[in-house]
Amino acid sequence: MEDLRETVIIPVTASELYSKVSDLNEDGYRLVQACCTKVSEGFEIIYSFDKEHELLNLKLTIPEEEEIMSITGITWSAFIYENEMQDLFGVKFKHMSLNYGGHFFKVSQPTPWNPKN
């Protein structure tokens, strides 16, 4: 029961994210989700991966203006999460394979989770 709630969170840096995700993908991990939290130092992005019910979380903390590598090249299904982060937070991604250009969620104000932008 207890280990169920144990959350494995591995911090990563923006530069090693891509290779790490790539490794995980080759290992047979699938992307569960990616989620962004607005924290004072910028964005905290958690990528979750799963392999046979084992969950692995990568936590990436970046300053707001930093552009990070899109992982859609590795797992295409990440386009949903990346577009979401782009629309709601204003996280910048490089080389997205399917970029809705801010029209994934049409919101009345741009990047509502990060009103400064």
Partner: protein
């Protein structure tokens, strides 16, 4: 008699004049005057022999025969030369077989056979002459404006219009000769001229595709020509006559050799009428400028083939192998070409397949060979000639104005070019809808098939009509789509073209209205003559007079209804439903990623079901099997 001579020779004179006088103005005058004269002459011919009905002319003249032979040799040399020049050796070989055989026959046998009646007029040839004289010449008028635009659009190509018009008029003359000759050798002569003319017309643009296709047409027609020659040889040597009416007479009395002649002539007819193994030449001919297509496929060339078969109809039917061959080939062509048309989006190809299909129907009617079937066949010839030329010319005009001959690009034509769209709608409706022409004949054909054609032909016509319905309505749908916010470009249409199109449209409607009259005064008398063994009192036509009257009334209603009601609505006009994403102009909707996506409406083609290739392969195999089978049996009978 003089009218006949005029009809055959005058086009030739005009042709030479057109070749010599090369200015636009002169050409315009000559074409318009000649066209009028030919049309008037053909009407005069009809008037002249209206009461007489049938007359044969003794026009025995050795010089004419000699002249024909000389021209034939020249033509053969020309074909052989062209064949070698363009490396199409098969054409040369065929010509090299055909003409020497013919000359050998002339010298050896033909010379000794006395031909009493070289020319003749009967009601069928009057009908044909009217079609050639009116529709054919009106097409040449259309060609004036069209070719001007054509050269304007294709600046890179040399202006060979004098030659073009020369060939066209030559063609008209040859066609008149063809339908008026009773001497089979003369018939053959004109037959060969039309072959060659079509070769030049198809190859007009001299692009590689055009040359290939023109040679394909040539080779296939020469193949038919070979059959023709053999038929003449057999006819001359074993029947001892060269007269068509004699041949038919002998056939009715059951002279055995007639079967071979009929089969070979029917074979020639099948090639010329672009029936199934040979349909590809007609499709290839679509590379030519549109007036050519209209001329070749609606009123002349292919009509020569079906004319011959209809003429021979009394010799065909279930009792003769030739008849079975002809009706099966026609039936298969009808169904396969109709199916293939479903998968086409190029308007000219649709028209081409539809032409092939309709010719198939006529051929099948001829093959059945009963008076009811022939009645249907002749009606089909009339309606098809008018309607198809209208449609071909409409497509030509559309092509020059919207820059495409693809049906898909014609959407909303009703908004963009209302007049042209109306012509086309009339033309399309006339091809398959109830009170209009083609359906009447289809109906008659169906009745004839049920009575005499056997189950298979009934199935062919049932399924073929279903496909016909599909592709025509599909096209019709494109025409009628109303796109509120598209610009009207009708004014860009050339005056000559507009005149021709409206005339043809009116003609279509008029012929549909008066077809019972045509049937009564022209077709039925012909049938009584052609089928002397059928008691005229018992000649029950496929359509009872009640039905004809109803059809005419319906058509009248259909003309009146739009005049009274079309577009008269005071309802509020609202935008179309686009799942809540209409951007307001009915032409775009808000798509994914906030893009403005144009509303595009495209038809169905069902490539997987009715793919052109598939249908052609099936059709060609089936018809080749039938034709070779029939000839094998015939040959077996000889040996």
């Amino acid at each position: 008699m003089s009218t006949i001579t005029f009809l055959i020779l005058f086009p030739l004179l005009s042709a030479i004049a057109l070749l010599v006088l090369r200015t636009d103005a002169a050409r315009g005058v000559i074409v318009k005057v000649s066209a009028t004269l030919i049309a008037v002459a053909s009407i005069y011919l009809a008037y002249q022999y209206f009461g007489i009905g049938e007359e044969y002319f003794d026009f025995a003249n050795e010089t004419v025969n000699l002249g024909m032979t000389v021209i034939e040799v020249l033509l053969a040399i020309m074909i052989i030369y062209l064949g070698i020049k363009y490396k199409k050796y098969l054409a040369s070989v065929l010509a090299a077989i055909q003409t020497p055989t013919m000359i050998w026959f002339e010298v050896k046998v033909g010379h000794h056979i006395h031909v009493t009646n070289n020319l003749y007029v009967d009601r069928l040839s009057i009908i044909m002459v009217l079609i050639i004289g009116i529709i054919g010449s009106i097409i040449t008028v259309y060609a004036l404006g069209y070719m001007k635009d054509f050269q304007h659009h294709h600046k890179d190509q040399p202006d060979r219009r004098p030659f073009f018009f020369f060939i066209m008029y030559l063609f008209l003359g040859a066609m008149c000769g063809l339908v008026l000759s009773n001497n089979i050798v003369w018939l053959y002569f004109f037959w060969e001229i039309t072959t060659l003319c079509s070769f030049f017309l198809i190859g007009y643009t001299k692009t590689e595709e055009a040359i290939n296709n023109s040679f394909r047409a040539l080779i296939m027609n020469l193949l038919g020509g070979v059959g023709f020659v053999i038929a003449i040889v057999i006819m001359g040597s074993s029947l001892g006559t060269l007269e068509l009416n004699q041949l038919i007479m002998m056939g009715m009395f059951g002279v055995p050799a007639v079967t071979y002649v009929a089969a070979l002539l029917a074979f020639a007819g099948i090639t010329k009428a672009a029936q199934m193994p040979f349909n590809s030449w007609l499709l290839g001919a679509m590379v030519a400028p549109t007036p050519t297509s209209a001329l070749l496929h609606s009123s002349t060339m292919v009509k020569a083939g079906v004319f011959l078969i209809i003429k021979l109809a009394p010799l065909l039917g279930w009792q003769s192998l030739a008849g079975i061959m002809v009706m099966m080939v026609g039936g298969i062509t009808f169904i396969m070409a109709s199916f293939a048309a479903v998968s086409q989006s190029n308007a000219k190809k649709v028209l081409a397949y539809s032409t092939v299909a309709n010719l198939g129907l006529i051929v099948a009617c001829g093959g059945i060979g009963t008076y009811a079937a022939v009645w249907a066949g002749i009606l089909l010839i009339i309606f098809h000639a008018i309607t198809k030329s209208l449609l071909f010319l409409c497509v030509g005009t559309a092509e020059h104005n919207i820059g495409s001959r693809d049906i898909e690009d014609m959407d909303g034509l009703f908004t963009r070019m209302p007049k042209l769209a109306t012509y086309m709608i009339v033309g399309i409706s006339a091809m398959f809808l109830a009170p209009l022409g083609m359906l009447v004949s289809k109906w008659a054909a169906m009745k004839a098939f049920i009575d005499n054609g056997g189950v298979l032909l009934v199935m062919f016509i049932a399924f073929g009509s279903a496909a016909t319905l599909f592709y025509w309505t599909k096209w019709l749908g494109k025409m009628v789509a109303i796109m509120a916010n598209r610009e009207n470009i009708q004014s860009g249409v050339n005056k000559d073209e507009n005149f021709v199109l409206s005339t043809l449209t009116i003609l279509t409607v008029i012929v549909c209205l008066i077809f019972p009259l045509i049937s009564k005064t022209m077709i039925v008398p012909y049938l009584i003559k052609a089928f002397p063994y059928v008691d005229p009192k018992h000649m029950i036509l496929a359509l009872s007079s009640t039905n004809m009257t109803i059809m005419v009334i319906m058509l009248f209603v259909l003309i009146v209804l739009p005049i009274l009601f079309f577009g008269r609505t005071n309802k509020k006009i609202v935008p179309i439903y686009l799942a809540g994403a209409n951007l307001g102009d009915d032409l775009t909707f808000r798509g994914a990623m906030e893009k403005e996506v144009p509303v595009s409406l495209k038809n169905w083609y069902m490539e997987g079901y009715f793919g052109e290739k598939k249908m052609n392969v099936i059709g060609v195999i089936a018809t080749v099997v039938i034709i070779t089978g029939v000839f094998a049996i015939l040959l077996g009978g000889v040996l």
